[in-house]
Symmetry: C2
Subunit: 150 residues, 2 copies
DNA sequence: TTATGTGCAAATCCTTTGCAAGGCG
DNA sequence: CGCCTTGCAAAGGATTTGCACATAA
């Protein structure tokens, strides 16, 4: 299964990183750049510890708490998004565009997907008895192909 | 805002509890009955500690870990459902039927809702490139009426 | 009676925080 | 240079676990 982001997309994301920081009013540091790179480079929705381990390959002396602080900050500023599922730790996603999630209930795999059919649901939500709606996200749960086979 | 489940619905849920345990292959105990009652009685999606505090009014000597174990077990067996949102602890919901969630991004309020329009989306998901889909859940994020006013 | 469930206490895991030193703008 | 960031170490909070006793079936 494909786990790495397309090389060109990654390059674009990395190129826009200083701009993202500027708009967010935060400084560009070596640590932040590498944390962003790891989140932006994978389709796997890694947790904080995985990111820590991967970033250490480039910055051996980085500390786990810096990774946590950085991820929390990025999440707050909308530079990445934060995802969480019952019984699981927080996970992070470099894809901040409109998308939905498929979650395998057996192995925990999370996969982004887009769907025009699903996006079309949005206008139908006028009659839902809530306040002001800012986002619509659909979660599909089930078994991924690999787990379905087993 | 309404926070308690309709009396009649609660009575039905309590009446079906022994049956639910039987099907799940677990024993009916005083503690489990009261933990279930608290989750089944509220629309508020309480966390483990709230449930602990409420159940203690009926069983003062119950321990927090029993509440955790019970909630975890109920979640596994599908007797209640477990919900979680980024940066928040686990929360529990006595409504196991098909429904969706509205989440207030400011105050954390979670509200169940049903929607035929949303349910209609389900058949359109054939072409989503995932494995076998067992549930479709839609999450609306935004501001609840109270927060929108402020 | 016998497998299950409970309470207690301690452990574990994830995450956050205070503070002094370092580095970006 | 001044404020923002980092690393370290320690704290914090939620949740889980081992074990002996209690209890539902």
């Amino acid at each position: 299964m494909k786990t790495a982001v397309d090389k060109k997309l990654l390059a674009e994301r990395m190129a826009s990183f200083p701009e993202l920081c500027l708009r967010a009013g935060i400084r560009v540091t070596h640590q932040r750049t590498e944390v962003y790179r790891e989140v932006a480079a994978t389709l796997e929705h890694p947790d904080a510890d995985s990111i820590y381990r991967r970033v250490r390959r480039r910055i051996p002396q980085i500390s786990l708490d810096t990774v946590y602080r950085t991820l929390g900050l990025f999440g707050e500023k909308g530079i990445i998004s934060r995802v969480s599922y019952p019984g699981d730790r927080a996970r992070f996603d470099g894809n901040t565009g409109q998308h939905h999630h498929f979650i395998c209930t057996k192995c925990g795999l999370i996969r982004d997907f887009r769907s025009d059919a699903l996006d079309a649901v949005r206008p139908r939500l006028k009659n839902v008895p809530c306040g002001r709606i800012t986002s619509v996200q659909i979660e599909l749960r089930g078994l991924c192909r690999r787990c379905a086979r087993a």
